[in-house]
């Protein structure tokens, strides 16, 4: 049944980077289940040729884009915020004898493909990530229950989801929220008519609909701030 929901992901480990947008996560999950290969879509694939899986969220057509009724991720104030470093280097001492004789040469490790890395990652200690959505709870739940990690560096344990919870809300807070008579933006939208009489956003450049990484979707946007 289509209703308004507050969808909360409870985290068991610190979150690295920013959490993803829910419509993108649901789309990926459903695409995988439907056997649609997401890796075949690259930045130069025209979106008109791509078939998108039907995720169980209500959507509107805004400025010619399919905008799903789900807010950007909302995080509480982090209890702690820090930077973790992830190291990666070719262990020359272990690799030297494995290489062919003519490959045993001086290796530049300060830059280039064999650069020793100690990459910083922004880590936040938050216990929840919240989304406001309008859609079918049962179908959304079927997809979210298989989503066990959020954010970056999930392959090494960051952003582990303990459980997802649904709370019904009276208002549809997925795109706008009305506070003290003003409309506050809750979701990234294309800059245009839809941002008239709206506050709580900043202008930027990027995508307002999935796939968020595809250049064809890039335009001037309003991002909740």
């Amino acid at each position: 049944m289509i209703k308004n929901w507050q969808l909360t992901a409870y985290l068991l480990s610190p979150l690295a980077g920013d959490p993803p947008r829910l419509d993108a996560v649901l789309m990926r999950e459903l695409a995988q289940r439907m056997g649609m290969s997401t890796s075949k879509i690259t930045r130069d694939t025209p979106l008109s040729e791509v078939m998108f899986p039907p995720i169980p969220l209500v959507f509107d057509d805004i400025d010619g884009r399919r905008i799903y009724h789900c807010s950007d991720p909302i995080l509480p104030t982090p209890r702690q915020e820090w930077v973790d470093y992830h190291a990666k280097r070719l262990e020359s001492d272990k690799a030297a004898l494995l290489l062919r004789e003519d490959q045993r040469k001086k290796l530049l490790v300060a830059s280039g493909p064999y650069k020793m890395r100690r990459a910083p990652a922004r880590i936040r200690l938050v216990n929840v990530v919240v989304y406001f959505v309008r859609g079918d709870r049962k179908e959304i739940n079927k997809l979210t229950k298989k989503i066990r990690f959020l954010g970056k560096h999930t392959n090494i344990g960051y952003g582990m989801v303990e459980r997802w919870e649904f709370f019904e809300t009276e208002e549809d807070l997925s795109i706008y929220a009305v506070r003290t008579g003003k409309r506050v933006l809750m979701k990234t939208l294309p800059a245009g008519e839809c941002l008239r009489d709206v506050c709580g956003y900043r202008l930027s450049y990027g995508a307002a609909s999935p796939p968020y990484w595809h250049p064809e979707n890039y335009s001037k946007i309003g991002v909740p701030a």
């Binding site: 890796s39 075949k40 702690q80 494995l98 290489l99 216990n127 090494i156 344990g157």
Partner: protein, 335 residues
């Protein structure tokens, strides 16, 4: 091969020697890796084993070394090939398209690499393994531990020890040969009769015009006996990948089962116990890890030639590229 939907392996590791899994230095002292945990109304930095370290030491390195030995690649690899197998590779060429055939061949021939993912020279290939960080068994982590433990396991109702009770320090000395008794005979100081007393007083150093290199170094450790709860979570994998995971863990255990630094002097030894494995295959049948490992070993042996060919094609030696170009020129294929 029947697919496995999801598989979760929960492990408990006990430190058999001090663990020096470091995150940096504070002054002259190395400090252990910690992460912040919210406990009893405040945040506290608690020692942790990073997923990055567990992933590399327990899975990628032993698994890759096994493949290198099975394929007789020792002394035969290009740098790019070694970088790919041992560390996961890096993007070194730009590309606007993905070579799906190459990815598919890799995933078919190398279950370990399908599990871990990696970067070919011009494309990144994702893996299916999520490595959970090593969460210390201490009171500060009670909330997280109680939720990470599999069904049927519970924490004791009494307070666990605080994480600080498991933190200790080490200090070692790096000797200076000139300070050792008897070595003065080996030093080239002509026409001066050197006695042990003179050597101890730095007389020999003064004559050589050099200061002593004697060095103390110290740092924090996690004490022997500390325990960590961690695990491996795999999504949409086959039995071969599961076999690769179990096989790599077994190889890691056979090779000393260490994590963190200072393993050369006995630090970082841990004993891994598999607490619980949770997963069934697509048809709901229980999975036997030993069967998966056997299937994986057979797969590696059966596809040996194809795997070596794939590696040599994906990471050609630079000389062979030149040779190939020269041959092409001779044959008039270069246009």
């Amino acid at each position: 091969m029947k697919p496995v939907r999801t598989y979760r392996l929960t492990c408990l590791s006990e430190a058999l020697s001090p663990i020096t899994h470091m995150m940096g230095t504070s002054g002259n002292e190395s400090i252990i890796n910690r992460e912040y945990v919210y406990t009893q109304g405040m945040t506290k930095a608690v020692p942790v084993l990073s997923g990055n370290a567990i992933r590399h030491r327990m899975v990628r390195e032993p698994g890759a070394m096994y493949l290198i030995r099975q394929y007789d690649l020792e002394g035969q690899m290009s740098i790019d090939m070694a970088n790919f197998l041992l560390v996961g590779g890096s993007l070194s060429q730009s590309s606007i398209s993905d070579n799906l055939r190459q990815i598919a061949q890799m995933q078919t021939l190398f279950p370990l690499l399908r599990l871990l993912g990696g970067s070919l020279t011009n494309q990144v290939v994702g893996g299916s393994l999520y490595v959970l960080r090593g969460v210390m068994l201490c009171e500060e982590n009670r909330r997280v531990l109680s939720r990470m433990l599999p069904d049927g396991y519970d924490l004791p109702n009494t307070d666990l020890r605080s994480c600080e009770e498991y933190v200790s320090e080490y200090q070692y000395t790096r000797g200076d040969a000139r300070r050792l008794q008897g070595t003065q005979k080996l030093l080239s100081v002509p026409d001066v009769p050197v006695t042990p007393t003179l050597a101890a007083d730095g007389f020999v150093d003064d004559l050589l015009g050099e200061k002593s290199n004697l060095m103390l170094y110290s740092g924090q450790t996690v004490k022997t006996g500390a325990m960590f709860l961690h695990g491996f979570y795999c999504q949409n994998i086959s039995r071969l990948e599961l076999g690769a995971l179990y096989h790599a863990l077994a190889l890691w255990e056979q090779s000393g089962s260490t994590i963190g630094g200072q393993a050369r002097i006995g630090h970082g030894r841990i004993q891994l116990s598999m607490l619980h494995a949770d997963g069934k295959d697509f048809y709901g049948t229980e999975i036997d890890p030993a069967e998966c490992v056997t299937a994986y070993i057979e797969h590696v042996q059966q596809h040996r030639d194809d795997a070596v060919d794939w590696l040599q094609t994906a990471f050609p030696l630079k000389e062979s590229r030149k040779k190939a170009k020269a041959v092409d020129l001779l044959l008039g294929k270069d246009g």
